[in-house]
Symmetry: C2
Subunit: 225 residues, 2 copies
């Protein structure tokens, strides 16, 4: 299912939310929504952010030049510069965009509620760390680790996403966090997922990942009772 929701669309595709200037999304605008008065503006802004994330996942930080992102978004470079005066503005906004997308993807796991099948839960969680969203986030982390401006925002948002991941993981696994060690167990699981996602960066080792997931899902099942 659409666990990861970034667009792996064809290069020239139009974003899903790309509307003609006139029509608007169903429940889109509240009454006092004053900031972007034009739908077209919001659309291009969103397109730029989505393109930035996509470029980040596909071409990395250095390769994601504003020209590239603008072209990917189907707008001129000047338009990009209008919405985000500086390159840093663009990517700091992209950080929040990625964080939101990841939170959404995370919450998309929630409706199922706590299933008894822990292996399925672990598989789903790990899957979150192998999609393009995680790739983009990874590039963002690495870039932010050396860009003073980005780091603070990235760490803050990542902490938020991390907490939410943990909460949802506990929920889905049906773990009793009051028991000693359970919290650390789940954290370790998420760290393992991160590590599996990182390993997936260079080589697509789905087979190995699946085996590791199966094994540790079993161990987790024992540990959580």
């Amino acid at each position: 299912m659409g666990v990861v929701t970034t667009d792996d669309r064809a290069p020239d595709d139009r974003a899903p939310d790309d509307r003609a200037p006139g029509d608007r999304a169903p429940g889109d605008r509240g009454p006092g929504d004053r900031v972007p008065k034009q739908d077209r503006s919001r659309a291009t802004r969103r397109r730029l952010l989505a393109a930035a994330v996509a470029c980040l996942a596909e071409r990395g930080w250095a390769g994601s030049t504003v020209s590239v992102v603008a072209e990917r978004a189907g707008v001129s470079r000047g338009a990009a510069q209008h919405h985000f005066p500086t390159r840093e503005d663009l990517f700091t906004a992209a950080v929040e965009y990625v964080a939101e997308e990841r939170s959404d993807a995370l919450r998309a796991l929630f409706p199922q509620g706590a299933t008894g099948d822990r292996r399925a839960v672990v598989t789903a969680l790990v899957a979150l760390y192998t999609g393009p969203l995680f790739r983009a986030a990874l590039h963002l982390w690495v870039a932010a680790s050396n860009e003073e401006q980005l780091r603070s925002r990235v760490t803050e948002l990542e902490a938020r996403v991390g907490r939410e991941s943990h909460r949802i993981a506990v929920e889905l696994l049906g773990a009793d966090e009051s028991a000693p060690g359970v919290r650390e167990t789940v954290q370790g699981l998420l760290d393992m997922a991160r590590g599996l996602g990182l390993a997936n960066l260079l080589t697509d080792d789905a087979g190995r990942r699946e085996r590791v997931v199966a094994q540790w899902a079993g161990l987790l099942d024992d540990a959580l009772g």
Copy 2:
């Protein structure tokens, strides 16, 4: 005399393994010692590689320009270009350098032999994923994931280091790999270590890491019997 040509490097510049030109690393080169027969040349070459790794860990890929690396190594940019005609040559060589360093660090754990204290082993393994070497490797991976040339070499070397990590981990943990699931268990542990190292990129969460390590060491102890 001129041990090193212009030793006017910045104060903190000496890499940990920065040796005098004469002495070599323990098992450094076989008899078929190739191209540079001059010690000074080898020294600057090594300095350049060490500087490249250090810059990679501290400033990231984009920030590690050849000028920066050369300055860090205490040589002119032209000298760097003499040893590594292109920037890519420099960093592909740096890849191997990092791989060797990581293997050395890994082997440094070996002399102890298999101890009964699995928590200490896990701690040591995880520690390997939190140092500057891992940081450099991380930047390298992320950069390589989008640079066609680097990727093949990085994946190859990383596979080697990964196998060695696994072998040593099995050895130190006293695990019986013929038993079903043991291989995947250890792999998962290493993946978790990777994830912890990745989490350590932005925020130094040594406390959390320690708790997770303690907990997972316990899980491992149970799983391995």
